[in-house]
């Protein structure tokens, strides 16, 4: 457990030290490549506020998308016609690049929170839907026969078999979409915003404030990592029984 944290930490610090040494030795100007020390010096209250804005947008969109996608997955599996009719449309929505849709969202929803949240929803919805549908169908036919011999209703089959069986699939989708959520929020901010990490990145790159740009990039990565680990932590507690041996 400790080595799982320790060794990446050691390698990370070594890489940062090398970076710092190269920048200082070669005397690289800050607007091209700032040294780690210059980036850290740029961490201030504004950055934390921008990070919080982006994180909240990503989190809200992620939660709405997950709930919506899981609900849709249940309907798809319960009513086959829905899946046949709507799944191709869902794929079409998925293949449309979010960057292409984002300007439209700003026209419709303005430069406030909602254009970002909807961008996050659009990017997070699909992976959760696909995996949840797969997970809800994953229980062996024999398990369904067992429920049949016990006289279970369709609702009971979903509640007591299909939904718990789906949880490992759901969580692996949530991990994927949690990192995508931050991407969605930043794309939304690129197009039109007055705050958030995406806004900070646009402004600092226009002014060649490369150290601030790096700090914003690092903060964006941090937001993604944070989401990912919170979900991993929840997963370990809820899907504790899933350790590969489902027999």
């Amino acid at each position: 457990m400790t080595s799982r944290v320790q060794s990446p930490l050691i390698f990370g610090l070594l890489a940062l030290a090398a970076w710092q040494a190269i920048v200082m030795a070669a005397d690289i100007p800050e607007y091209l490549l700032p040294a780690p020390s210059a980036i850290i010096a740029n961490v201030d209250r504004t950055l934390v506020v921008q990070l919080a804005v982006t994180f909240v947008e990503a989190l809200i969109g992620f939660l709405i998308a997950s709930a919506l996608a899981f609900g849709c997955a249940i309907m798809f599996v319960r009513f086959n016609t829905l899946e046949e009719g709507l799944f191709p449309i869902a794929i079409a929505v998925k293949t449309t690049p979010i960057v292409a849709v984002a300007p439209l969202l700003v026209i419709w929803l303005g430069t406030g929170w909602w254009s970002k949240i909807v961008a996050v929803i659009l990017i997070c919805f699909f992976p959760v839907l696909v995996n949840a549908v797969k997970g809800l169908k994953a229980a062996d036919a024999e398990y369904r026969e067992l429920f049949q011999t016990l006289g279970a209703s369709r609702a009971q089959e979903f509640r007591k078999l299909r939904i718990p069986y789906c949880l490992p699939y759901l969580f692996s989708a949530l991990k994927i979409s949690s990192s995508l959520a931050v991407v969605g929020a930043i794309v939304g901010e690129f197009v039109g915003a007055t705050q958030g990490l995406g806004y900070l990145i646009m402004v600092s790159s226009a002014h060649l404030e490369t150290a601030t740009l790096f700090a914003a990039i690092a903060a964006a990565a941090l937001a993604g990592i944070l989401m990912f680990y919170v979900i991993g932590w929840t997963e370990e507690r809820i899907v504790f029984w899933h350790s590969g041996n489902m027999e």
Partner: protein, 264 residues
């Protein structure tokens, strides 16, 4: 329906022994394009332990599933003398829910029967008693992945008994277990069937082991390879408790082996 046909049907009905619980009449079951069971007749009487014996994949599992109404019948009938007869089913795999403890797995049939309401103390007490009966009294709070294959199948047996069945249909219940565990579990199954601890009185078991069929059953129904047709309905008739090396049992095994070989 003309009078002659009616008379013939009446005669057919009166010929059944009165205690027949389940009657299989000219049963035909299809599995896609394949005929799994073809024109089978037999009956299961109250209190009997009957084995369905045949080569692997001969359609005997399909037959068992059609009695449990898991598989539709192509033609013929499965007649239950009492439509409210409680039938339990045990699969070859334990099929325990991995997110539930042993106790909660055994409580599953009670939860399903109750619908929305929560299981009460009586159900809990009964589940614990059944787990004691299958020697899992110390493992009520264990999760399936913490149990051995034999223990998982014991839990599955307790779960099947939780529905309070009168008839238990067993599909090679211990087939995936090692020989030693399997023998012990077979003996315990016989004990549960003979004891009056549960309301279970009749067992129909699918197996492909001749010694297992002969040592456990009152009758062995020998089936052909796919489609499953009746070869012979063998009355075992040895006194219990039996061992596989009782001279009488050995001669029945020889007879059945000759039947199975003769068919190939």
């Amino acid at each position: 329906m003309n009078a002659l046909a009616l008379a013939a049907q009446l005669e057919a009905i009166t010929q059944f022994r009165p205690e027949a619980l389940v009657t299989i009449e000219n049963l035909k079951v299809r599995f896609g394009d394949v005929v799994a069971v073809d024109g089978l007749d037999f009956s299961l009487r109250r209190g009997e332990f009957v084995s369905l014996l045949g080569p692997s994949g001969c359609g005997k599992s399909t037959l068992l599933r059609s009695i449990a109404r898991l598989v539709p019948v192509a033609s013929g009938r499965v007649v239950l003398r009492d439509p409210h007869l409680r039938i339990g089913f045990m699969f070859q795999k334990p099929l325990l829910l991995p997110w539930r403890t042993t106790l909660d797995n055994v409580l599953l049939p009670a939860e399903i029967q109750l619908g929305g309401s929560v299981v009460d103390q009586t159900d809990h007490a009964r589940a614990r008693r059944l787990l004691d009966m299958v020697q899992l009294g110390d493992f009520v709070d264990a999760y399936p992945h913490q149990l051995s294959g034999g223990m998982q199948q014991r839990a599955a047996l307790a779960r099947a008994l939780m529905g309070d069945p009168e008839i238990l249909l067993l599909d090679e219940p211990f087939g995936a277990l090692d020989e030693l565990t399997r023998e012990v579990l077979n003996e315990e199954l016989i004990h549960i069937w003979q004891s009056r601890e549960t309301r279970l009185h009749t067992i129909l078991m699918v197996t492909h082991s001749i010694p297992e069929a002969v040592t456990m059953s009152d009758r062995v129904i020998v089936l052909t390879d796919r489609p499953a047709r009746l070869v012979e309905d063998v009355e075992v008739g040895c006194p219990r408790p039996r061992t596989p090396d009782d001279p009488q049992a050995v001669s029945v095994m020889k007879h059945i082996r000759a039947l199975v070989r003769g068919r190939r």
